[in-house]
Every structure is written in structure tokens, then in C-alpha cells.
Subunit: 425 residues, 2 copies
């Protein structure tokens, strides 16, 4: 493909404003579609994705070839790669979102006032949602489907490395949606890879209602630092598991191993293990991790458990490894564990293992993270596992939505007031 | 499209960080206090406010004297002035907030997963809330009471013109709260009037969880433009009332007059009147407004109703007058009214007057503002009138909370997961 001249910043701002205005207009149409109509349109989109298999795989082959030329790592190429199976999974996921319960129209609360006015809070779509993401082309279909299901228009800005795949997926998806009555402008793909377009999206307060970044830490950090539009995102998952003195050793061993090693690269993976000083079998926790190939970095008391534990540096306690590495500290009981978590947790998912219900209750009450668990693996921190059917991401901010975010997190509400001529005295 | 806020003098940044850290610590204590304990502490704070009447009025007299010296307008002096009656009202308001239902601890949703894990979403305080406000010293007590009732720590930054009043009110309030077991650092008053402290609060992402600006448009606009911390605020109330062809003329006349003229300076006041072209008695709407001393600015069709209507300029349709001035347009039916509102409303409160239920239902469904009313005056847009007992403000943003915001808007939630040793397959 011959390189087009990069648009100037001003024209990029105009471009983004134009996209946002047409998205807003389309969203007003989408907002009036009922649940069965949106469901049907998404099913048609899934069918269109399947029908476009040859086109999408050909486009993906171009991206893969460019990626190899440009020296993408094996892991990046794997995230980029589409196969017939992965494409089928993408279409299945769109169908699954289609069949989720529609949150729009729910009456959140209702009350009559003494003067006879009736007030309702009605759940409605957020509006126009910008998605900024990196190499995985399946985000194009996933995010668009979640937005359409919840009545939101979306502006998608994927990574340059997946540009052909994203365009082919977007084209098929929109064809199916339009067949189902959704305006084409309800799902837009940024037509330029100019990086200034990301800046223009982040600055578009009032035009774009919410930005969801999906990608690595540097992408999310940039979005959080620069956005004038509200951002729904998670930056870090520095997740703790505290094995309390009264934990069942077999349960603790299984949870700790699973929380770290099931998949080390997901945001719900444990990054710090806190062991109560009076827990009877600390070596039983450490040994299976070492056997499974996990590198352990501990404080002096942890190193006394096993000499294979390296000495942790100060910043280890604030590091999300996303790898087979784990920080280990020995703490003196619940209060010390709570203090360590308050000082180092990133507000994602923290867990306790104990058979002492009163201790568990205090942990659940006092840990301030989006997800707090008792006797379960932190790897369950996931919208699907939480029964939400899907997720647009996990939010570690404190406002609007926390933890796994699916359809409800893509909605807001308005107040409806029904009167009979009331005027305020 | 502002860049990151200008770097603040290090000492002010350090000061704000110190306040925020001690507020966070105090908030953890406050979060563990039960509802009766918080209620009792607020009642003691109200008592302490009453007991400190002489001190507070003396401090206020200093502010009033300075204000006169510094040439504050009569309206500003009136907002600043405290009297025994106003102070009693302030203490009463704190007691009223004390007796509101505590939203903290509510189980928002609960579900068991097929693997036996039980999930709950539990309502919790937001955390540390910054309040940035101007001359009214009663905000010091109001905002602090709402934050304490909902388990939040607060950092108050009032205007320089009210500095002595705010300090005296804060001192009494905290003495009462401490007597009730609330840590003193849960309600902090910024110890400096250095304007850089506002910038440091706005930049304190992760330390302060939410900022609520309360004051004029320039304050709110600055906060919204510069904040890296989420902001709950409203900027404009460009509120429309659409009198539809099928409106009852007596009801329409009463609602229109009340929506504009009951109090012209509040954010719920109507700023634009839309009259359906086939409404039978347009002059009956216009005449009482003119008689009440309201200046009308209209389009050509509106001016045909009465020659006393001036010609509106283009920007009148986007102006919040907060005064006895009203824009008037004649529109061709519901669709034209909806289009005008979509183009010009600020997302605050928009109303329709009609006896046609189907038309009302479409208006309620399609207008996208925080509050949408049928057959009622927009002046009801108020937390007290909505039965919330009080309000920290009215939010016109789309996320977290919309419309009148009271205690629930000062909360968020966390997910609690209770397991029995589950690990993720």
C-alpha cells in the first residue's frame, strides 16, 4: 500500500469531530431500537463475519506479512493472527453478546412525590464510546457488539499492525448490522492510522462520552494521562493473596498455585503472596510454585522458608510481573496483611484464604479493591466468570463501574418526571 | 483540549499529598463506622455549630468587613453573610443529613455461580472527595455532612473571601465529629488560600477520588478543563420547555411562567421556550412573562406573536441567562422540538407540556438530558424536590451520576466473592 500523506493535526480534529457527530446521530436511531431488533442485527453481523471469512483471512495474511517484515515478536504475531477457528470464535462471541439481556430501559428506581409527580430513573446507553486498542483484531468485533447491544455508538481505533484485518472485520460487521436496521455510522472505524487521531479522540470531551483503552500498560497510561473524556480502564493488577493462619493447607496450596500459574499473563493473576507468620505449612505453598517454574522474590522472613527464594527489591512489591514471578512476604496476621495491601495493591483483585469466618469478613470489609475474594483464586476476576456474559474490560477506577465491566457499565440513566401541571411553590 | 496542568510549586503539591494521605487513612476508619455512629457524630457536629455561634459570627464579620473593603458586590456580600438565622439553618441542615438513610452497605446485586461462588456487589464510599467552592460558607457544613454521612473523607477548599467563616465553621464541625468518634482528618480544610493548591487538588489523581466544584461557571469550567481527578459537576442549565399543540392552555401558562420566573437564577430555570406552531394560544404564554418583567428574544415566527419580543441573536439559543430573559422559538411539532433540543440543550432539564400521552412518551424517550419532564415545571430540578433529602449538586455529565446528586452519588461499589476453595480450570 502506498503511504498517503499524514493528515495535519487540525484536519484530524475535524475528522474526529465529524465521526463523533455522525456517531451521535446514529446513536439516537440505535437508542430507539428495541432489544429484539438489536439482537437480530447482531446475529446478522455474526453471519456476515462468517460469510466474509476469505476476505478477513486474506486481509489478516497481509497484516501478518507486514508484521514479520516489521519485526513483531512471536507473541505479538500470535495476538494478531486469525485462523478459521479464531474467526468462528469471534462470530460466536458476537452471537453470544446478541443474546445477553439488554440493560437499556430498566427502571432503576421509582417514587411518587407528595405533590403527585412520579419520578423514575431509567437506564439508557452512555452514548458515543471510543475504543482504543492494540493488536488483537477480535476487539473490533467484541467491542462493537457490546456497544451495539447496549445501544451505544462506537468509534474504533485499532493498532496499525492490524489495520487490514480490522477493516475487513469492520466491513463485514457493519454490512450485517445495516441489514438489521442499525445505521452504518453507529460502528465506525477510524479511517486513518495517524497517531494524532488518538489525541483528537482523547480531547473530544462532549463529543465522545467515554473512552475504553484496551492494550498494554503504556497505551492505557497514555490514555489516562491525556484524556479529557472520561476513561474506563485498568492500569495494573497487583493482586495479593493472603494465606491466613487458619487457612486449610490443601485449599491454600491449590488456590495459590492456580492464582499465579494457571495463566501468568492475565490481569487477574496473583503478583504477591502474603503468608501469615503463624500459618503452619508455608513450605507447602512455596514448593509447588518453585516446582512449576515460578521465580520467587521475598523478604527476609520469606527467604527463611526456602533458600531458593531470591531477595526482593523495594519495587517488587509494586510490580505487576504478568509472568512466572511472584513476590512473597511473611506478615504478622490480618492487620499486617491489610496494611501491606493498602500500601501496595492496585485496586484490582485481592484474596484471603482462611477458615476463620470473622477474619474473612474483616478482610472483605476492609480491603478497598474492585474485587475482594474469600477462598477463591484471583484468576476468576473476569466478566465471563462473573456471569456477565462478556466484558469490555476490568475497571480499577472508583467511579461509574468497577471490576469486570459488561453491558451495564456501558449504560447510564436519566430521570423521568411525570406531572399533571405541577409548578414549584 | 488543555494540556496537563502546569507543574505546581513543590511545597503545595506536597501539602495536598499530605492532606490526601491523612484523609485516606481517616476514611478507612470512617468507612468502618456504622450508620448510627455516623448519624450521632453529625448530630454532635450540629450541636457544636450552634454552640460556636459567637465565634462563627465574629469570623464572618471579619470576612464581611474585608469584602466591603475589597469591593465585593452586594450579591456577593449577601452570599457571604451569616446571621443567627442562617447559622441555625446550617446546623439544621447538618442534622437533616444525619438522619438520611445511609447508602453504604447496600447489596446492589447478588448471584451464585454454577461453581458455587457467591458474588455480591456492595455499595461503599467513593473515598476522598475534594470540594472546591466559592463564597457561600454554608457549603463547608453541607458538603462535609454529606461526605461524612456517606463514609467519605473530604478536603474542602473554599474561597478567600470566606476564609475566616470557613475556618470557624470547620473548627466547630470537626470538634463535634471528633466527639462522635470520627477522625479529625476525615474533614479537612485547605490551610492555604494559595491558588496553586486548587491546581494541586485537580492534579491529585489516585490521591483524591472525585472533585465536586460548587460555584460560578468560570470556576466549574476551570475545574473541568484542568482536572486529572474525575469531576462531578454541572456547567450549564440551558433548559427547554416545549408547549405542544395538545397542551392544556391553563397548565401551559402556569408551567411556563413558573419555570422561568419563580427564581431566574437557579440552574433549573427555563432558558428557552419552544411553542408548537399549531398551539392555539401562544399569546397566552408570552403575555404573562412580559407582564412579569421578562425580556423575550425570539425568532421571526415568535416575534409575530407579540412585537415586544426582540430578535434573538444566534448565540441566544445557547445561552444560560440565569436572569429574567428568555429565548422563544416557534417550532413545527414534536420532531422540530426534539431537533432544537438535541442541538442546543446542555443535558440538564428539558420539559414538554401536552395532553397527548403518545407525544409525551416520545419526548421522554428521545430527549437525552439528565432530567426529562412531562407537565411539570423545570424548577423542580433539585435534590430536595426529588426526595433525596439534600444535594451535593446537579451533574450534567453522563457517567457515574446524573441530575441531582445526594448520598448515593457519593458511593461506588466493590465485588465480594465468597468461595469454598474454587480454582479456575
Amino acid at each position: 500500500m502506498s503511504a498517503a500523506p499524514a493528515p495535519q493535526p487540525e484536519s484530524v480534529t475535524d475528522l474526529v469531530e465529524g465521526l463523533a457527530h455522525s456517531a451521535r446521530k446514529a446513536q439516537r436511531v440505535l437508542a430507539r431500537m428495541d432489544s429484539p431488533a438489536k439482537e437480530q442485527a447482531l446475529k446478522l453481523a455474526a453471519t456476515a463475519l462468517r460469510a466474509a471469512e476469505a476476505d478477513i483471512l486474506a486481509a489478516n495474511a497481509r497484516d501478518m506479512a507486514n508484521g514479520e517484515t516489521n519485526g513483531l515478536t512471536g507473541a505479538m504475531l500470535d495476538r494478531l493472527k486469525l485462523t478459521p477457528e479464531r474467526l468462528a470464535g469471534m462470530a460466536d462471541a458476537v452471537e453470544q453478546v446478541a443474546s445477553l439481556a439488554d440493560p437499556v430501559g430498566e427502571v432503576i428506581s421509582e417514587a411518587a412525590r407528595p405533590n403527585g409527580m412520579v419520578l423514575q430513573r431509567l437506564r439508557i446507553p452512555v452514548g458515543v464510546i471510543g475504543i482504543i486498542y492494540e493488536s488483537r483484531p477480535n476487539v473490533t468485533a467484541d467491542a462493537a457488539a457490546l456497544c451495539v447491544r447496549s445501544g451505544n455508538a462506537t468509534i474504533l481505533r485499532g493498532g496499525s499492525e492490524a489495520v487490514h484485518s480490522n477493516r475487513a472485520i469492520h466491513k463485514a460487521l457493519v454490512a450485517g448490522l445495516v441489514e438489521g436496521g442499525v445505521p452504518a455510522e453507529a460502528v465506525q472505524l477510524m479511517p486513518t492510522q495517524d497517531r494524532a487521531a488518538v489525541g483528537a479522540m482523547l480531547a473530544a470531551a462532549g463529543l465522545i462520552d467515554m473512552i475504553v483503552p484496551r492494550g498494554g500498560k503504556s497505551l492505557v497510561a497514555r490514555v489516562q494521562a491525556d484524556a479529557r473524556v472520561p476513561v474506563l480502564a485498568h492500569l495494573d493488577g497487583i493482586n495479593h493473596t493472603f494465606v491466613h493462619a487458619a487457612a486449610d493447607p490443601a485449599m491454600a496450596k491449590a488456590i495459590v498455585l492456580n492464582a499465579k500459574m494457571r495463566r501468568t499473563g492475565i490481569c487477574g493473576a496473583m503478583e504477591t503472596l502474603l503468608i501469615d507468620a503463624t500459618y503452619p505449612d508455608p513450605h507447602g505453598l512455596v514448593e509447588p510454585l518453585l516446582e512449576a517454574g515460578c521465580e520467587l522474590r521475598g523478604d527476609a522472613r520469606a527467604r527463611a522458608i526456602d533458600p531458593r527464594i531470591a531477595l526482593a527489591a523495594a519495587n517488587d512489591w509494586d510490580t505487576e510481573y504478568l509472568d512466572a514471578i511472584l513476590s512473597v512476604a511473611v506478615v504478622d496476621g490480618l492487620d499486617a496483611a491489610l496494611a501491606h495491601i493498602a500500601a501496595h495493591a492496585s485496586g484490582h483483585t485481592d484474596a484471603i484464604v482462611t477458615d476463620d469466618q470473622a477474619v474473612a469478613d474483616r478482610f472483605l470489609a476492609e480491603v478497598d479493591s474492585a474485587i475482594v475474594m474469600h477462598n477463591a483464586s484471583s484468576q476468576f476476576a473476569d466478566g465471563g466468570e462473573f456471569g456477565l456474559g462478556a466484558e469490555i474490560g476490568i475497571a480499577t477506577g472508583r467511579l461509574h463501574a468497577r471490576g469486570p465491566v459488561a453491558l451495564e457499565g456501558l449504560t447510564t440513566y436519566k430521570w423521568l418526571v411525570r406531572g399533571a401541571g405541577q409548578v414549584r411553590p
